[in-house]
């Protein structure tokens, strides 16, 4: 009976794994290799790839700058409004990307927050800066959650000992917490980058899907599928898939080392 139950569970696992493997394989098997090669070197694809990489790197950098203190505060400190802050920061994980994009569009549009940013020279609506903002808000909750669990796993008594030996809280953070969190930081960075590169809905609503302006890889896939240009659509899909595979591989390796 126990064996039957065990085999049933394993069958479910392999059923879904098999379906996903076929879906991924289809992406590589359907197009002609020469088509993919040609599409890859097209002006649009290179623009899209460059924009994705640049915005992805900037967004990931910003995400990490914010997710480290957020993760540490949520893990270590008790403060008024902690539960509320945690819920709101986590909310975009459950939010449809399109709704998040709409919220950001309204915020950065004609509100005082939007005007403050515009006064600072930052205009997020239908611009490349908007791509970064959209990627940032989509990836931040994932990175913050990983950083929080990373710091949860670090024994706070190591920090206590450091404080008792004469080091301040900030020195202890730099000498003890940060080096011990290096694997978590790596995993968080990788996941944040993958999320940034793959963000579609939020970017579409906030930054728009303008050809060769705010066109990141998911947008290339969407625009070309709309035109019926399958070669370009499949090529951008393959590039996104390769980035995701690399991200998951690095994440799994660093998670195993945690």
């Amino acid at each position: 009976m126990a064996n039957l139950f065990k085999n049933l569970l394993i069958t479910f696992t392999f059923l879904i794994t098999g379906l996903l493997v076929f879906a991924i394989a289809a992406l590589f098997m359907v197009p002609e290799l020469s088509d993919v090669w040609q599409s890859f070197w097209s002006e649009e694809m290179l623009y899209s790839l460059r924009l994705s990489l640049w915005t992805g790197l900037i967004s990931t950098g910003l995400v990490m700058v914010f997710s480290l203190p957020i993760g540490y505060s949520l893990s270590r400190f008790q403060f008024f409004g902690k539960g509320f802050a945690k819920t709101i920061i986590d909310l975009p994980v459950a939010f449809p990307e399109l709704v998040l994009g709409l919220c950001l569009l309204l915020l950065f549009g004609n509100t005082f927050v939007g005007r403050i940013f515009q006064w600072m020279g930052l205009n997020f609506v239908f611009t490349k800066q908007g791509v970064v903002a959209a990627q940032f808000f989509t990836a931040l909750p994932y990175a913050s959650r990983i950083m929080k669990s990373t710091f949860d796993y670090i024994d706070p008594r190591m920090e206590f000992v450091s404080r008792s030996l004469g080091y301040s809280m900030s020195e202890t953070f730099m000498n003890v917490s940060l080096p011990l969190a290096k694997n978590g930081i790596m995993a968080s960075t990788v996941i944040a980058f993958a999320r940034c590169i793959g963000t579609f809905g939020t970017v579409l609503i906030l930054a728009g899907g303008t050809y060769m302006k705010t066109e990141v890889l998911p947008m290339t896939l969407y625009l070309n599928i709309s035109y019926g240009n399958m070669g370009m659509a499949l090529t951008s899909g393959i590039v996104l898939m390769v980035v995701s595979f690399l991200a998951i591989y690095v994440f799994e390796r660093t998670e195993a080392a945690l």
């Binding site: 008594r157 404080r163 008792s164 011990l180």
Partner: protein, 364 residues
């Protein structure tokens, strides 16, 4: 002026709390804190070091109030049960970590000195994860001691070690601390730590300090049945019948005990007798100085390593006796035998009247 004064300390962390904690230590004192799990022992250490802010009360170190001082300014060291060594540092760097904050020169010499004193000088290049439990504990102790703390706190430092390593480490700790004349507060579940290392003992239960005092006083004159049970003392309730030849005669369940301690005739008292202070014999001992000879039934024998605990009963009165395995073998004792318990009057202590079983915090 006391070296350390804890005054009316209250702290509530939800699951764990401390209430009305008062005590004082002199420089060079070695205090062991004992009590069941959840008694608030670790919170006390972590509030002394400054990781938890008390809700009420004050802490003074060398006459200066440190209640609101950040931990890095208190110069109080801590050693944890699971060592809390920094895994990304070598043993050398772990020990030198506190020194780097204080000194620019002479760090290596100081690290080598303390490492040599604790027999870990051959491990300095290793990472903590490659060391045994005993070695890691000595590294943690070296790291704390080398920073020359005014007060050293140890939270069950030997409990993760096997018995032989524990014994060796205890010896090394005793020597290292004695040489430096360090004041220590040591939380433990092992009464041997208290016997071997401490000159003062504090007993905690459910956040309250039940008894605080010199080692001998706590172990021979416990203030409550709970403490007596915890430190392995038999407590008996009786009434003083007479004063005879400088001895107090106390009647307990129809048996007369003679004690050197004084108490007024007719008062209700509690007697405390340590299990190792009772001598067991097959028959009554003749022509010896022992003033208390009680015939009792041997109900049970509980082996405890190299010793055994004999549970005796005389009338309705229980007595616990500690004997060596060798003595047990020589006397050929078995449950059901009738034996004699012989106790010197100096070892029958009158503690107080009557026995307190409730939590009653102590104010020193």
């Amino acid at each position: 002026m006391s070296f350390l004064t804890v005054e009316d300390l209250h702290i509530n962390l939800g699951e764990f709390y401390l209430k009305e904690v008062f005590f004082q230590l002199d420089q060079g004192d070695y205090l062991t804190i004992i009590g069941p799990t959840g008694a608030g022992k670790t919170i006390l250490l972590e509030s002394l070091i400054g990781f938890w802010a008390p809700d009420k009360g004050r802490i003074y170190l060398e006459g200066k109030e440190i209640t609101k001082e950040p931990p890095e300014h208190r110069r109080i060291g801590i050693v944890y049960q699971d060592y809390a060594l920094l895994p990304h540092f070598s043993v050398f760097k772990n020990i030198a970590y506190g020194l780097k904050k204080k000194y620019k020169h002479g760090i290596e010499e100081r690290v080598r000195d303390i490492a040599s004193a604790l027999c870990i000088d051959h491990l300095l290049h290793r990472k903590p994860a490659t060391l045994s439990g005993g070695e890691q504990q000595r590294v943690a102790l070296a790291r704390a001691l080398v920073a020359e703390p005014k007060l050293l706190l140890m939270d069950e430092p030997f409990s993760a070690l096997d018995s032989r390593t524990r014994r060796d480490t205890r010896l090394l700790v005793k020597r290292a601390i004695k040489e430096r004349h360090t004041t220590v507060i040591h939380v433990t579940h092992d009464l041997i730590d208290a016997w071997f290392l401490a000159n003062k003992v504090a007993v905690f239960r459910e956040g309250h300090l039940l008894q605080f005092g010199p080692l001998d006083e706590v172990f021979t004159r416990p203030r409550s049945e709970f403490i007596a049970d915890f430190v392995g003392v038999t407590m008996l309730e009786g009434r003083v019948k007479a004063q005879e030849h400088g001895l107090t005669v106390i009647g307990v369940d129809g048996i007369d005990f003679r004690s050197l301690d004084e108490a007024g005739v007719g008062t209700d008292v509690t007697l405390a007798i340590r299990p190792e202070d009772i001598i067991v014999s097959r028959g009554p001992l003749e022509q010896v100085s022992v003033q208390n000879r009680i015939e009792a039934l041997l109900e049970d024998i509980v082996p405890e390593g190299k010793t055994s605990l004999l549970r005796l009963r005389a009338h309705d009165m229980p007595l616990s006796v500690l004997v060596t395995r060798n003595a047990l073998h020589q006397l050929q004792l078995a449950p059901g035998d009738m034996v004699w318990a012989n106790i010197k009057s100096a070892n029958v202590r009158i503690v107080r009247d009557p026995i307190g079983t409730d939590i009653e915090p102590v104010r020193e």
